[in-house]
Structures are given as C-alpha cells and as structure tokens.
Amino acid sequence: MGIVTPGFTGRRRSDVNLPPGQYLTEDFPVLSAGPTPRIPLDAWEFVIVTETGQKHTWSWPQLMAMPSEDVTVDIHCVTKWSKLGTRWRGVPVSAFFDEVETAADFAMAVSYGGYTTNVPLDDLLDGQAWVAYKFDDDDLAPEHGGPARLVVPHLYFWKSAKWVRGLRMMLEDEPGFWETAGYHDYGDPWREQRYQGD
C-alpha cells in the first residue's frame, strides 16, 4: 500500500474486480498518437509477412467471407480506464494462420498511419485475439480503429492496434511505437506492466 493521502477517501468501492490502478468508465475514450487515417474498403488489405519474407494478403471481401465470432470482453487502457463487457465482431487471428507457416515467436502489428505494436504470437492465437470490424453491432468508427483493428483484450489496449494492416513475424522481439516511447513490451494489466521495467 502507498502512503495515505490526507483527506482522500475516494469513491464508493466498486464490487467488480479491476486490474491494479484501473478505474471503470462507461465512455469509450480515444487514445491515438496522430490524425485518424481514413482507409477506403476497396484499398484495404491485411498482410502477414513471415520471417522468410513470404506474404499472405487478404482483401476486405475475403475478410468478410471468413467465419467471424462475436465476443464480449473487458478492455483496459494504460491511461487507467477500464471498460467492461465491450462487444465486438471479428475474425480470430488464428484463422489467418491456418495458411501461414512461421517459426517466429513474435509479431509486430502494423497499422495504416504507421503505428506499430509488438505482441508474442502465442498471445494472438487460441481465441485470445481478433481482427475486429464491428463494435456494438455497428461498423467500427475510424476514431476507434475502423475499418478494422486488432482486439487483444488480455493485454493493455494499446496492443489492440487500430487501423491494423497486418502482422510482421519476428524471430526476436522488437519494440513497437509506444514500447519505444517507454511503455512495456508485454503489457499485462493484471501485473500492471505499464512502463518499461514494470
């Protein structure tokens, strides 16, 4: 426990279990580092590049034709808000790997607009991550990462790359955009891995 702050009592305690240092919000705040890119669907593509340079590309119609899942998950942003029970529709990342051969343990998610974030491949498979294109039954809004974003709810939400364009497979872990700027390479909210060294 930290030192007691004189005169601070805080709000009524919530009975939900949140990761350390998080608070509940009903809003859906936006966090991004630059202008919101606008990607026309006929130009959209999702590309996995393996460590040997092999490229696998999906177009928007191909994405729509893949079996999707509806998931309801809690999300936790490193800026301290958590939002419970968010509803998404997307294609599980595992589905893309059905036709990809890779020995890499790490992936760099790459976005339109230049954003990147690193995630271990194991954290993207087995029903842990989706390429999501609907939120609450609506098309995903551009400021929330539309037309499609990664959703990796068990990690801090900056790992859920907005405007995702693909994955670059890596044999060694490399820091992405926020990770280079001092944020944690893995980002587990339950272990409060906000910053490098946490």
Binding site: G2, T9, K80, F177, G197
Partner: protein, 244 residues
C-alpha cells in the same frame, strides 16, 4: 530497464488558473527532469488502502525538483476533485514519471512549431512554450488556443506577457462560446481559416502538436491533414472526460 519508481511529492504552492482549474506546484525530491509534453501518474491512497491513479500532463519546464501540474476539475472526478479541492499545501501525494516519449518537443528539433490547444489541452503545450524560453530557443512557435470564453483561458497573464517578451512566439485565441469585446473573430469552433491564418503553411513542414478533448483533436487534426500537413508531423494527445 529499472522500474519507474513511485516518489513522494509535496504540495508547495497553488495557483488558480480558472474557476475550475488550478496549478499545483509540487516538490519532488530527486526528480530526474522531464521533456515538455511528458506526463506523470499520480496515485492517491485512502486510509483503508483503496487507491486511485490518473495521468496528468506536466505544465512546467524542467526546473530542479519542482513539477507543476494543472488540474481541471472534472464533474464527478474522483482524483481531480481532490487535487483541485481538499489537497493542501504541505500534503504528500505519490507520483511517478516522467512518462511518454512521443508527444514531446525537443529543443534541438529544427522545425518551426505549431501548437493547437483545446481547453485544458493547453497544459502540455504550455510546458513546451516554457521550455522554449528556458532553453533560450528562438525557434518560431505559434500557439492557437481554443477556449470557451476568456474566463476559461489558463495561464492568461503569462501568455499575454510571453507573447510580448518571448521573441518568435505568437499566441492566437479562438473562443467557441463568447469572445471578448474587440476580439475581431466571432465566437465559434476552430476552422480551417483560423489554422491557415494563425498556423504555419504546410510547406514550412512544422512540427505540430494538437491537444484537447477527443472531438477537438479529431477535428483539428483533420483540418490540418486536409490543409496539406503531413500526418506524420502531427502529434496528438487527448484529454477525455474520464481524465479526472
């Protein structure tokens, strides 16, 4: 890399900025310094061990152990209402940082700077204005500051003074609800014309920093991109209603 440690900071002084915002001048023994635009995490702990954390942008330029935060009271804000209310001179608070290596201005960057502030989004931009002066930089800076009314302008006196004394710094105001008499520009939201008139042309390849509430940042960044600014030169930071 070693963990960013929690430090104990003590409130040295308070300055009211607007009816709903105040600046906390904190003493942070051992503070390592910071870059303008970085933020800190503040942690409050109740007697029963319950704690709450929020992030706040730093308002001051690096200056020894002193760190200034400007806290806008958010309706129903658990942390902001304490920091802008009961928190008193001499009281401790826990803090860690500085955090963030993206939304920062470095005095060696050879590009002119455009700062676009919406409301309390001026805080990290003020840190840049102050750091520029502290570094003796002559880099041309333009601040376009959107506030609801003249009463909502933070750092009003200092900005007025700096606009005269800090050579190469221009400050322009956009009032969205009520402009002062003689302002010349009717009240209303930030427009492309405002940015064309008071910002830099895209050909100057300025470094652009936009900070404010999400709607403001989205609108301002879109206007800048539409005007021809390279999206890669536009850095954004948002203050949500949940920042409190």
């Amino acid at each position: 890399m070693s963990r960013l440690a929690w430090r104990v900071a003590y409130l040295r002084e308070v300055r009211d900025e607007t009816p709903s915002a105040r600046t906390l001048v904190l003493d942070v023994p051992g503070w390592p310094g910071h870059l303008p635009g970085q933020h800190v995490d503040v942690r409050l702990t109740a007697p029963d061990g319950y704690s709450a954390q929020r992030s706040y942008s730093i308002a001051s330029a690096a200056d020894g152990d002193a760190v200034e935060l400007t806290v806008q009271r958010v309706p129903d804000g658990e942390v902001s209402s304490y920091l802008a209310g009961a928190y008193a001179v001499g009281d401790p608070v826990e803090l860690r940082g500085p955090v963030g290596g993206w939304f920062v201005w470095r005095s060696g960057d050879p590009a002119p700077v455009l700062l676009v502030a919406g409301g309390s989004g001026v805080v990290p931009l003020m840190s840049m204005v102050r750091a520029r002066a502290a570094a003796g930089s002559r880099m041309p800076f333009r601040l376009v500051y959107s506030a609801r009314t003249p009463d909502d302008v933070m750092y009003a006196e200092e900005l007025k003074r700096r606009a005269l004394s800090d050579r190469g710094l221009d400050v322009s105001y956009v009032y969205t609800r009520r402009a002062p008499d003689g302002h010349g520009r009717p009240a209303g939201r930030l427009t492309a014309v405002d940015l064309a008139e008071w910002g830099w042309p895209p050909e100057f390849e300025p470094a652009v920093f936009v900070c404010g509430p999400t709607g403001f940042v989205e609108a301002a960044a879109d206007l800048l991109v539409d005007a021809g600014h390279d999206p890669r030169r536009i850095k954004t930071e948002r203050f949500g209603p949940t920042g409190g």
